[in-house]
């Protein structure tokens, strides 16, 4: 594994390039999925947004792995913070739920992504959806800002996950909650896949074991922790073949996929227990 700073730089470069080229990719990039076609990408990790209110095709780069907004219990007037907001896809769906009286703040590590998201917000005429270029390990928001935190397939990209979870706790109001979609592991990845930074930017090599992931949230102080949705992810043979021998690919595909997309929910207690 490369050092944290190098990994973050690589993640930034990759997603900035995606923003500039206005293409799909990222969590399982198109070249490794064998196609730049949106549909084939969807079948690997993304869920279908097209039926959701507030959906804007231009803001959907196909980079998510779940539908956190569907499970996030967002109420009218809420302040929602989206961590790793990309081109703004989940922010706009969240904005539909908060209504004009709410607020949606999207934070993304890539300047190009926030610029793209801002243009999308302008096109939609949403003046209560704002974007900030920031790091999830050092969130530039005041404590107790958010009623709801959402994030879609981003935390696995961040090297220091415990710090992000502590930051989520800090920015949530007491009694607030999060719903986060992410990639976790339920078994071991072959060594070569773990080490590949390219797989990292594609969300797989940076993923934690599921139990460890959930323990991190508990350690950060969250309660009512639950998994709202769980779905195994199958990597295409062509992608694996770039890192593994044909025999290894066959062996990998015969077992249950150790890569799982989860949507996790938890609450910040109304009053601190200590």
């Amino acid at each position: 594994m490369k050092n944290a700073e190098a990994i973050k730089q690589q993640v930034n470069d990759k997603y900035s390039q995606i923003a500039r080229e206005n293409r799909n990719g990222g969590c399982c990039e198109p070249s490794c999925c064998g196609s730049n076609d949106h549909e084939s990408f969807d079948t690997i990790m993304s869920d279908d947004y097209t039926t959701l209110q507030g959906y804007q095709p231009e803001a959907d780069l196909g980079l998510g792995c779940g539908l956190p907004t569907q499970f996030a219990r967002i109420s009218t007037g809420d302040t929602v913070v989206d961590l790793g907001s990309g081109a703004g896809n989940d922010c706009f769906v969240a904005r539909h739920l908060t209504g004009p009286e709410g607020k949606v703040i999207g934070i993304d590590f890539s300047e190009d992504m926030v610029a793209k998201a801002r243009r999308n917000a302008e096109k939609m005429g949403y003046d209560n959806v704002v974007f900030v270029n920031g790091d999830l390990e050092d969130i530039p928001l005041e404590a107790q800002t958010a009623d709801v935190v959402i994030s879609n397939c981003v935390l696995n990209l961040v090297p220091n996950k415990m710090q992000v979870m502590t930051e989520i706790y800090r920015i949530l109001k007491p009694g607030g909650h999060f719903s986060i979609s992410d990639i976790v592991l339920t078994g071991t990845l072959p060594e070569v896949l773990q080490q590949e930074a390219e797989m990292y930017a594609g969300c797989v090599a940076g993923a934690l074991q599921k139990e460890e992931y959930l323990l991190h949230f508990r350690a950060a102080g969250f309660t009512q922790l639950m998994i709202q949705k769980e779905k195994p992810i199958t990597l295409p043979d062509e992608m694996l073949a770039r890192y593994l021998s044909p025999t290894e690919v066959q062996h990998f595909q015969q077992q249950d996929s150790p890569i799982v997309s989860v949507t996790v929910y938890a609450e910040k207690p109304k009053s601190e227990a200590f």
């Binding site: 703040i105 209560n128 704002v130």
Partner: protein, 88 residues
């Protein structure tokens, strides 16, 4: 960005409240260009094209920010070039 966002932003590093200056607004009173500074650590965070740039030092791009700062009549501190501090 809307001015109401200012009260929700803090220094990403030490979480202190920020001071702000506005250099350009649009017709709705939203900040298009401006500067956020942390009175505690002295770091600055520019608002460019309505977007606050608030990533930690090691991910900021000085060559991109310097011309914008110059335009605003601001200069980076010479004696501490690796940090994002301004010469007042």
């Amino acid at each position: 960005m809307k001015k109401s966002l200012l009260q929700k932003l803090c220094c990403p590093i030490d979480k202190n409240d920020l001071q702000h200056r506005v250099f350009k607004e649009d017709e709705k009173g939203e900040i298009i260009e401006g500067l956020l500074t942390c009175p505690a650590c002295g770091r600055y965070y520019p608002i460019i094209y309505g977007l606050p740039i608030m990533t930690p030092d090691e991910y900021r791009e000085k060559p991109l920010e310097e011309p914008v700062l110059k335009k605003w009549g601001l200069n980076l501190k010479k004696e501490n070039p690796e940090k994002f501090f301004l010469d007042h």
